[in-house]
């Protein structure tokens, strides 16, 4: 099929769609509009989720709430429905290191917003990886709790949380039931936190938020907590954390993931929201993670 035939078919398809469009509704009298977030999932739901993956909790002490990660972005493609689609999206345009082909540097920029993110809180950034970066660990020695039966290089190195030295990376493999599995890890010199599991389509589709937490109660993070979000809903442009003590943090996710450093030894109680590029709330959840 040549270009002209392709254009003709596309034009026909678009025309067919346009001709099915219904009549517009009469414009109702304008009334004040407020964004209504989706129903907030209460603590009980969060802890029920923890209970369901109690096996993982056992090997990840002090983890408040866990979910396998994934990714999202400025949805330039359809939401992936398989691990293969997801991985292709994640590593598309990535840079494979010449001296270490087991590492691919993810090159996806954060999604843009049509509003000023600083209106929502103090920005934190995941800096892009450069060709001089290497993961703090490699495939052979990666010790993922809940590690799949088989891990498949390359490691997708996504970025470093500014000012913390914490890296975010992902790896895929096959679990013990031969199903595709995805592992994510955020790691610093001493602190390592990770999780593996199937690609969670309901998270990618915006039905909920997945949160992985590392709190000061862990010896390796005495002065701060870390909150990791993923898989974020596919069109997430900004993650907003509102703690009940008044602190607010925001981040534009990189490759559909967000990692926050929350100073202090206090418990983390608050609300996390994923916003789209127009500041519309995609999903919002409460969290309560003890020190």
């Amino acid at each position: 099929m040549n270009d002209q035939q392709l254009d003709e078919q596309i034009t026909r398809a678009v025309r067919a769609l346009a001709e099915t469009s219904p009549e517009p509704l009469p414009l109702a009298a304008a009334t004040p509009q407020h964004r209504s977030p989706r129903p907030i999932l209460v603590f009980a739901g969060a802890f029920a989720a923890v209970a369901l993956i109690a096996g993982l909790v056992a090997v990840l002490p002090r983890i408040g709430r866990i979910a396998p990660f994934g990714s999202t972005g400025p949805a330039d493609t359809a939401v992936p429905t398989t691990m293969e689609e997801y991985w292709t999206w994640l590593t598309d345009g990535g840079l494979v290191l010449e001296d270490n082909p087991d590492v691919v540097l993810v090159r996806r920029p954060p999604p843009g917003t049509r509003f000023d993110p600083r209106e929502y809180g103090e920005p934190q950034r995941i800096l892009p990886v450069s060709s001089g970066d290497n993961p703090l660990w490699d495939v052979a020695t990666a010790n993922f709790p809940g590690r799949p039966r088989q891990l498949t290089p390359p490691v997708a190195l996504i970025g470093t949380l500014e000012g913390s030295g914490m890296q975010v990376a992902a790896l895929r493999g096959v679990d013990f039931t031969e199903e595709p599995a995805l592992c994510v890890q955020f790691a610093g010199d001493e602190l390592v936190s990770s999780i593996c599991g199937p690609l969670e389509l309901d998270a990618l589709n915006g039905a909920r938020l997945s949160i992985l937490a590392q709190t000061p109660g862990d010896r390796s993070s005495p002065e701060a907590s870390f909150l990791f979000f993923g898989p974020l809903p596919w069109d997430t442009a900004l993650v907003v954390i509102r703690l009940d003590d008044g602190r607010r943090y925001v981040q534009q996710p990189r490759a559909g993931m967000a990692l926050f450093r929350i100073p202090g030894p206090t418990a983390l109680i608050g609300t996390a929201s994923a916003l789209d590029a127009d500041a519309g709330t995609i999903v919002e959840e409460r969290f309560n993670i003890g020190p």
Partner: protein
Amino acid sequence: MTSEASTEPTTDAELYAKYSHALVAFATSIVGPSMAADVVHDAAVSLVSSQALARAHDPRALLYKAVFAKAKSAQRSAFRRRDRERRFAATIVTHDPEVLPEVAIAVAKLSPQQRACVFLTYWEDMTPQTVGDFLGISDGTVKHHLARARKRLRETLDQGDTA
């Protein structure tokens, strides 16, 4: 296709009256006919309520942006995507029997961004620059979406040829 009236509308109601049909067609390309009118209406009411429409430098572009945002939200249903794609494709096929079913299915599977770019380009005859202005993205991103959409459609059709 759209055409510009000689007199520009000045009130919200006039703006809505002028552009609502085109906006519903645009929304239909993203969410299908069953939700399109509601999406456009909700977007317009939001803009009127916030008085954003009255302040807008380019109210038509703002209306498209708002409808696009609403349509994406409406598309977000987590568990009905595949069913929606099937119904979406069936709509295209049944309305024009000369549209290849493979094309209808492939169009239905495009992302909302890709469909929006395809619609505004092929139906509204907009340039990438204008599409970008209307969707709030760069013209480079528009070209990227169009290229990916065309590549996907071509692959689908080529597979059909060899099947």
